[in-house]
Symmetry: D2
């Protein structure tokens, strides 16, 4: 039984981790960490957990926690883990970080986009980027896993086969992303109020969203050369879900069949990545509450472009689900344990 502690359990990603770990056969939660709700019962914060979780929220003392836990999940603000992480913690247990602190290898890029100094850059080299479908083997042996961002997970998985096969002109790559509102977190801010989000769609952080360099870095590895692209997120009036619509010019000679085959080959052994039937558009409703990513390319022969689409639940595969998938790999468990949830519709 893997003993898991969650720092930041009272945010949306933290709560989803609780939901998933409660239904996991080989893990148990021993610490419900919170900043705002210490000493309150977890179920008073999330009424769905009434009669299911009896625990009271505790603080965020990683050093105390690491002596009790086999794994710590940190669903915390940027900079927090970097500010407290040390060898003692990493010696004592494994850490899966849902923040961005250890996702980007080039610390200057991190500091430029996040606008804060990195307080423990010595751990950046060993941190493994926890996109399971790409880095499965490294994750198995890692002490510290940087759980990918929601947009990068869906973007990279939706685009990867085209980049890896060098089928697209990388200079033409544009990613238009749409996310449900849980991605904005549970902080009390006017722009996230019901009446502000409902009956509205908008782009935000245009040309400046922090997930941009993370996506670029991961696609660069696949390309074997630097990738620079536009990434534009939009806020959609729904709770869960991310949809990626990416555009690029196909290189001469690349056909519809080659494109489709690239996706099928890339994901034929992946349980969580579903390559939809030709001509199908991914929809967020079909993955809700699950760890699936649905992808499907669409070749427009008229314009010579490929439209790469992907849909995912932003707090499952985009956060908590992938974190559990990483935990399963790190502890030698079945990779899909606790994650074979059938998407909930409607």
């Amino acid at each position: 039984m893997v003993k898991a502690g969650i720092i930041g359990s009272t945010g949306y990603a933290g709560q989803e981790l609780v939901r998933l770990l409660l239904q996991h056969k080989e893990a148990e939660i021993i610490w419900y960490g919170s900043k705002s709700y210490v000493d309150q019962t977890f179920s008073s914060v999330f009424g769905n957990m009434f009669h299911i979780v009896e625990d009271v929220c505790r603080g965020d003392d990683l050093h105390a926690l690491c002596r009790e836990a086999d794994v710590i999940f940190t669903a915390t603000p940027q900079g927090y883990l970097a500010s407290v992480l040390d060898e003692e913690i990493l010696d004592a247990c494994k850490v899966i970080d849902l923040s961005a602190d250890f996702r980007i290898k080039d610390v200057d890029v991190y500091e430029a986009w996040y606008g804060i100094p990195h307080a423990s850059r010595q751990f950046i080299p060993e941190a493994v980027y926890g996109l399971c479908e790409r880095n499965r083997e490294e994750i198995r042996g890692a002490r510290l896993v940087a759980n990918p961002g929601c947009y990068p997970t869906c973007s990279v998985l939706s685009i990867y086969p085209m980049v890896k096969n060098k089928y697209i002109d990388l200079k033409t790559l544009v990613i238009d992303a749409k996310s449900g509102t849980s991605g904005a977190g549970r902080g009390a801010k006017v722009p996230n109020l019901y009446c502000e989000v409902n009956e509205n769609i908008k782009a935000y952080s245009v040309a400046s969203h922090r997930h941009t360099p993370e996506i670029e870095e991961q696609l660069s590895y696949a390309a074997g050369e630097p990738v620079t692209l536009n990434f534009t997120p939009h806020l959609v009036p729904m709770n869960r879900g991310i949809l990626i619509t990416a555009y690029a010019n196909l290189k001469p000679g690349v056909t519809k069949e080659m494109v489709r085959d690239a996706y099928i080959q890339a994901y034929k052994d992946e349980y969580f990545v579903r390559v939809l039937d030709e001509g199908t558009c991914p929809e967020t409703r079909w993955v809700e509450g699950s760890n699936f990513v649905d992808v499907c390319p669409n070749v427009d022969e008229r314009t010579g472009r490929v439209i790469m689409m992907g849909a995912m639940d932003n707090i499952t595969k985009g956060a908590a689900g992938q974190a559990v998938q990483n935990m399963n790999l790190m502890f030698g468990l079945e990779e899909t344990e606790g994650l074979r949830l059938v998407p909930v519709f409607p």
Copy 2:
């Protein structure tokens, strides 16, 4: 392994049955029946099932199905099961009917409220009303279970302890109910279009909703006398969930403490009924995707009334979840098997 066939698997309740049975350890689905989608893959109708269900939809031949199945779920329009049910089917397998055909014992009442003649009234006496928390023992031995309506399930469980203990003046009982839109079914009708339901709330079927006599009958059993009440459903712009707000005058001498104690005693051994902490209002979001019913009474000493509230997922405990709970009882399985799902939030 219980072999289950579903007639009407391509409606919302039918699809939820599929979701639940796929995650049930001791059941397998052998027949995906449909009227509109015969010969199409089930996953082409419900994209969430892609790569999970490979089956093709079949028709609604109950006589063929009963030779293969241990249990048949009928999630069909009113009158359908009554028109085809016979001894051959009931000899061959168990039937759990999600329609209203066998819920009401007085066939005249059925015919008056539903406006259709009952085509197999000979089976009404043996049909067991499948409200597990009330009729557990009878369900275990039944061949034919009438799965309760969504509104009646939530209404009866929310009100029952007050009626059973004779704490309220039955003549003053009023039920104001609110439901998500999945309760309206998947038929293509203008009033159920997105733009018609969104940003709106309305009452409907005022003083004439067909679930009224079902609620009255069940509460009459608890009261030991006939109950006549008002039941007013409302359509809420959300997918899932039912909320009941019921009002009645307390009888003289009934205190807050007595009321609370009645709920706790009634449900102390029930896994799926959660009596919330005093002063808490049930919310549909806390039960979404689960088989829980959250109930909580609120005594208004100023007016001498009790406000009885309950929240439930209309297609889980209100339809498919309760059907699986009935199946578990009928086959001697653990009652909660396949149903210990943590509610999904947000």
Copy 3:
């Protein structure tokens, strides 16, 4: 041209006042008061006003404002107006208060339900309750109008004909109300976040909502005797709209025809109250963005009850629209000026 100042113009009701007054032929806004956005342009707070309103938000100095304005609207928190109102202000201009400070005549009741002392009780007697359909004449001559609460407006108009005609047993009166989320205001609070409100319905402030005594007082005037009732509000995932579903026992001998006739007589000269065709249920979508209240009674002969239903836009007729209607009366303008807006659908 009536010069109007708005204190609290950056809340939802305040912004709606701006929308309505901008489309009013005989009024102009001279002061956009705000607590949180002083010195910011109004259109930076509400992007719909871009290129329409060039003004910068000012503070809440009522004494400065009263020297420039003919009328002041206060869309402010409870207790604010009572804490600053004096003869100087009321001598200089008229005041329409959208808060609850002057709605309730019995100051003890006010203080008990609102939990704050009333700081200027000397003005309570002269304040006129601004429910135009009831107090039209008094409003015309008033210096200080207490604009009714949203729930009381819809409740009283939906129920009034039954009370006035003594057709119902007042002891059996129960009001079940449902409101869109704009009624919760624009404050940054976790319970009002999109993901907390969306896909949910709940009751709140059960047996304790502050609009209860206001409704009781107004119905008492109509009844000629004290009225005590239950009022239960619910939060609905939509922006605008209030729906009232009220229940009461009909007195012996009161028929369907008498009930219907009472509504028609009560409202035959009222532009803003529409008595719907028999059997029709009011829906909030049909009044959105307008000053209409749609009402319709439904008699259940089986139970002897009348179900009184009403739908209204909570921030138009329930706040800003009624405030403008009051202004029109107070300044001798056409009562419907600026308010003949066709409801926006979908």
Copy 4:
């Protein structure tokens, strides 16, 4: 007083036309045409019109109507107007067609994308494309105006200044569009049911949407050369609104300032096109219920691209509002008459 007839008044665009014309000082509606609701009162179809419109729906006899009307609006399915239009009608009155029948000058392109033969191609040359901001003068003299599609209106206005000034590489132009669900019409279809649209986002008609050639044609006029582009619409769970996010590479030497200036110059005299402050992202909520289009370019110097954004109400400026704007021009009225509606928020 302009006498207007509406064919297709019981769809969403038709109903919006009614709303706008009722609030127009110099027009009156003399014919509420409908296919599905003939002989029913218009207000029984749209409850918002209760007590406002007393008329009964009539059929679609254009020849009868043209003898009574000064202008006919056709909000009808593709092919309908082309199948009935003749000289008699155009001699008798003006026609504003909200369908696509006369938008595209190359009839082969029309027939290829719409999949139907064009039944009255003789009128294509004289039809004026009713994008008022571009073709104001031609519209004034037209007998037949082809009211632009919703996506083309928002796309062309959002992109036009960049194309006209030759600031972008046309080969790199990609348009990612998002629309509320009213754009899908009021037909009873399963994919448009509340539970299918709610909590979901998806792309549709990828590389095949019929508005593509319309956008290409209009931008070609501005460019002076053929334009081929990708256009991808998405369905958003909201009633109203279209958001355009378009991407293109800037030509060498084009600066942020030049881009911004191009928009300001293009729209400085346009009441309905608002160029937002630099760095602001258009949001559909800020234009809801109004005829405004909010546009704002964002230059990403890092990638050398411009992101062109625009927001609009799809059934106002995207359909009925623009139709009224066209009517105003055709009849020599003030262009903004009946259209100076303040957007409704929230």
